[in-house]
Structures are given as structure tokens and as C-alpha cells.
């Protein structure tokens, strides 16, 4: 990548952000787009139990629509656990929230049932629902379980309602072909992003080596997360993915480099350093790569993550220490440190504790 990336936010609203990303690869910009759409955890209603439903809408219909309701999901990835990772048999406060919808229409009219009618039911967690007011003519009620998830499982977990992505508004790179009847210019009017770039001259030859360099993106969320959170979490998620890939390659090197006892010792002592380096964003990684350049031996590059393992109390040396730290925890937790500032103050402690 030539030069450092440039970001310019053109518009920031409560639920959307419009920005221009420059000096990055097309592949990278596309990964950012993909990651904000599909890899950010949010909370959505996933399990519905219907006690009584005398509305005109069938149960399935209501269950589906409830699933689409965006629930505020700030910090859900730190504070909650995926149901599949949770130790509880079927829903507990750590992996689910409990909502109740109890609406009755007694008048001779239709009423609107919105997400305002959803009530969060605090613990104790269980099925002890009181049935004090008997259902009237139109009643829906029942507990709904909101669970964290990501959009790869179901699109309802996507925090984004729309992500727009454009580059090369003048089609200088000819990545697309404009079909036209008579006049290409007239039939393909330029979008607003075209003002950002110089129009090609009439006689300009086609530069087949040119690469897209400027990307116009707009991320609009459904309200479950703020636009800023979506972007920052998307970037963090990218880092986690990359870190996990590095972790995946490295255990083999670790086996070759051997020195279990030595490695464990080094990790133990360096665990303390992690705290100091996490204040500087990306500092730990800078250090790690600097060492990479001089000596590719794994033991030297271990400390940034080793801190995580030893803090966790996993004193087992060598590979065991690595496998004891779950991929998300090892990579994500470590990186959580580099992002202090925008997340919650508890983020780090959560990262380490889980």
C-alpha cells in the first residue's frame, strides 16, 4: 500500500456515517465493508414462546417480526456470551435477555404494537410468568429471548441496515460496462461522489495499470449499535481475524523452536510488560514485528500474547498455553487493550476475565 491510509468523515449522524477512505487496497476496503455487515455481534430475539395469541397474525408471523426488532446491543460482545459458548442449559442472564410483550386491545379499534411494548424482564430467570390479567380479545404475550449473534447466522443480527460502497465514479478503470442506447453520458448520470474526482479528459488513453484508490462508503445502522461503534468494532474484528491467523500459523513454529520451559519463563516475565505497552495503540504489534525482522524465532515474538495467557493463570508451557486460550479471547482480548478509549472502561477487564 502506497502511503498511509486517509480517512475523511463527510457526514456523521446518529445512526449513519459517510466517509471516504483513501490509499487502501480495493481488497481491504471490501473486507471492511464485509466485516461491518456480517461479523459484528448484536442482539436479536431468537426464541419466542407464545402464551396466548388471539390476534389476526399467526404465531410464526409475530415471531419472525419480533426477530427483526433491533435491540440496543452496545457492548454486548464484551458483556454477554454466545448461547453456544455458555455453560447454562437453556438461557441465563449471561447469554440472553428476557423480554416480554403483553398487549391487550380493549377498544373497538386497532392498536399499534411496537418495540416500546417490549419490556425487559429482569431476573430471576425462569418460566414463572404470572397470568394475572386474563387475555382479552387481542392479546399477545410470552417471553422472548434475545440472544447475541452475528449476521452470518441470520441477517437479523447485522447491525447495519445499509452499507454503500463506491469507487471510481467516472468508471475510469472500466470495472463496469455502461450499457446505453444512444448517449452514455446522458443515460448514466454521475452520482454525488463524482465531484470528488477529476473527470477523465475526452482524449485520455485508458490506463490499464491504474488501481482504485479512493472509496466512498456509507454505513447505516439499524440502531442496535451506533455508527461509530460499528466501524470501530469492524476494525477490531478484522484485527482479531488476522491475529487468529497468525496464531494459527505460529504454534507450528513454536513446536520447532521448542524450549518449553524457556518459553514459559519468558512469557511469565513478559506478562507484566503487556500492561505498559497496551496504552500505546498498536505498540505491542510494532514491537513484535520489529523482532520478527531480526529473528523469526517464535519465543521472541511471544510476549504480547503470552501476557494474556499467563494472566489467565494458564501457566502450562508451550503449546498447551496457546490452546488453553480460546482464539477469540487470545486475539480479541489482547487487541482490546489497544483500543482503550472508545469502548467501555470495563472492556479490558472483560476481555481478560472471559
Amino acid at each position: 500500500m502506497d502511503g498511509a491510509a486517509i480517512v475523511r468523515i463527510r457526514e456523521l449522524k446518529k445512526d449513519s456515517v459517510n466517509f471516504v477512505l483513501e490509499n487502501v487496497d480495493l481488497a481491504f476496503a471490501n473486507s471492511l465493508r464485509r466485516v461491518v455487515m456480517a461479523d459484528i455481534p448484536s442482539i436479536a430475539i431468537d426464541m419466542v414462546e407464545i402464551d396466548a395469541n388471539t390476534t389476526v397474525l399467526p404465531d410464526e408471523f409475530i415471531a419472525h417480526r419480533l426477530g427483526m426488532v433491533p435491540l440496543i446491543s452496545a457492548n454486548c460482545d464484551d458483556a454477554m456470551r454466545y448461547t453456544r459458548d455458555c455453560t447454562c442449559p437453556a438461557g441465563c442472564p449471561i447469554c440472553s435477555i428476557w423480554l416480554q410483550l403483553s398487549v391487550t386491545c380493549t377498544d373497538d379499534r386497532t392498536i399499534d404494537v411496537t418495540s416500546d411494548n417490549l419490556e425487559v424482564v429482569p431476573g430471576p430467570f425462569g418460566m414463572s410468568m404470572s397470568m394475572d390479567d386474563a387475555p382479552e380479545e387481542l392479546t399477545k404475550r410470552g417471553p422472548y429471548f434475545g440472544h447475541p449473534g452475528i449476521a452470518k447466522e441470520h441477517a437479523k443480527w447485522s447491525p447495519c441496515s445499509a452499507v454503500s460502497f463506491e469507487y471510481d465514479p467516472h468508471n475510469k478503470l472500466r470495472h463496469t460496462t455502461h450499457w446505453f442506447e444512444v448517449d452514455e453520458r446522458a443515460e448514466w448520470p454521475l452520482g454525488p461522489n463524482a465531484e470528488e474526482e477529476e473527470a477523465p479528459r475526452e482524449d485520455q488513453p485508458f490506463d490499464f495499470n491504474a488501481k482504485p484508490n479512493k472509496f466512498y462508503m456509507e454505513v447505516e445502522t439499524d440502531g442496535s449499535l451506533g455508527a461509530q461503534e460499528v466501524i470501530m468494532k469492524g476494525l477490531a474484528e478484522l484485527q482479531t481475524k488476522l491475529a487468529n491467523l497468525i496464531l494459527g500459523i505460529k504454534p507450528d513454529l513454536d513446536m520447532i523452536a521448542g524450549g518449553d520451559g524457556q518459553a514459559a519463563g519468558a512469557w511469565g516475565t513478559d506478562g507484566g510488560n503487556w500492561n505498559a505497552s497496551e496504552t500505546a495503540a498498536g505498540g505491542a504489534w510494532g514491537a513484535a514485528t520489529a523482532q520478527d525482522a531480526t529473528s523469526p524465532a517464535w519465543a521472541n515474538t511471544a510476549p504480547p500474547f503470552g501476557g494474556g495467557s499467563s494472566r489467565r493463570g494458564a501457566a502450562s508451557p508451550g503449546r498447551a498455553a496457546w490452546s488453553s486460550s480460546p482464539p477469540g479471547g487470545g486475539g480479541g482480548g489482547g487487541w482490546g487493550g489497544a483500543q482503550t478509549g472508545w469502548g467501555s472502561p470495563n472492556r479490558e477487564t472483560n476481555g481478560w476475565a472471559t
Binding site: M1, A5, V7, I9, L12, K14, V24, D25, A27, F28, N30, S31, R34, V35, A38, D39, L71, I72, S73, A74, N75, C76, D78, A79, M80, R84, P93, I97, V120, K152, E153, A227, Q228, E229, M232, A236, L238, K241, L242, A243, L245, I246, L247, G248, I249, D252, A281, G282, W285, T289, D292, P296, P327, A338, Q339, G341, W342, G343, S344, N350
Partner: protein, 149 residues
């Protein structure tokens, strides 16, 4: 009908290796790396980064089947570094770049926040409870609840 369970797209199976390296027997300094439970998001990004490295002769990735949640990436280097090391370096570079971008986004957001906080709040719906609708915990009353658990 043939599709796997959706969560298997991104959750590693029991005992599944996230990364498997197979060195090429016929091409020198080449390896095929199979990365489980990842898709084009990671594959394309890493491939592009590898290609930008001068010591990498070839890098390509593919998702062999859309219903199988893994991709393979083939790397050939000029011999100065191993393919694994090239991949590792590419990832490190990308992480640094993302970290850099994160800082830039943070600064831009902070700038915009100070700039047009009132305007953006005015657009807020009924859920805009607090002063800072973008903050992690702060304004989102629910956010606090999750952390309280």
C-alpha cells in the same frame, strides 16, 4: 438442504485446526494454507497484502465450495522467506494498518462529535437516551445493563 448449520460457518469444530499448512512438493518455496471458518473477508485482504510484498512471487486464494466454510491460499516466495513467514508478515502489516486506521477513525469521530454533536443528537429518535449516543456504555442505558450482568 445440503447447507451446513449456519453457526458452523464461523465456529471452529471440536479439535479443528484453524490453519493447516501443506508445503508444495513440486514447486519450490510454495505452500498451500487451508484456513478454516474464514471467507473472502480475510482471504482477499491477505492475498492482496501478500502480493504487495516484493519477495512473494505468487499469492492466490479460493473458496473451493460456497457451502464449505474454509478457504485455501497458495503462496510462493522467491526463497528469501518461507511462505508461512510471508503470510505472517502480511498479517502483521495488515494489523498495523488496521490499527493505524483505527486511530484515524477515532480522531475523525472525535472531531465530528465535537463539531456537530447537537445536530446529530437532534436527529436522535426515542432511543437517544443520553448525551453521547455514540459512546460505548454512556448514553445507551441498555449497554450498561449488559455489563451489569
Amino acid at each position: 438442504m445440503n447447507a451446513i448449520n449456519r453457526h458452523e460457518l464461523f465456529v471452529l469444530d471440536e479439535g479443528e485446526n484453524p490453519v493447516e499448512v501443506t508445503e508444495d512438493t513440486k514447486i519450490p518455496n510454495a505452500a498451500t494454507i487451508r484456513i478454516a471458518k474464514q471467507d473472502h473477508t480475510l482471504g482477499n485482504m491477505v492475498r492482496a497484502q501478500l502480493l504487495s510484498m516484493p519477495s512473494v512471487l505468487f499469492a492466490g486464494y479460493k473458496v473451493p465450495h460456497p457451502l464449505q466454510p474454509y478457504f485455501i491460499i497458495k503462496v510462493q516466495t522467491d526463497g528469501t522467506i518461507t511462505p508461512q513467514f510471508a503470510l505472517e508478515t502480511a498479517c502483521n502489516d495488515l494489523i498495523k494498518m488496521v490499527g493505524d486506521l483505527e486511530g484515524k477513525f477515532k480522531r475523525e469521530f472525535a472531531f465530528k462529535d465535537a463539531d456537530g454533536a447537537t445536530g446529530s443528537n437532534a436527529a436522535g429518535g426515542p432511543t437517544a437516551g443520553g448525551d453521547d449516543p455514540y459512546g460505548g456504555g454512556g448514553g445507551w442505558s441498555e449497554g450498561k445493563d449488559y455489563l451489569d450482568f
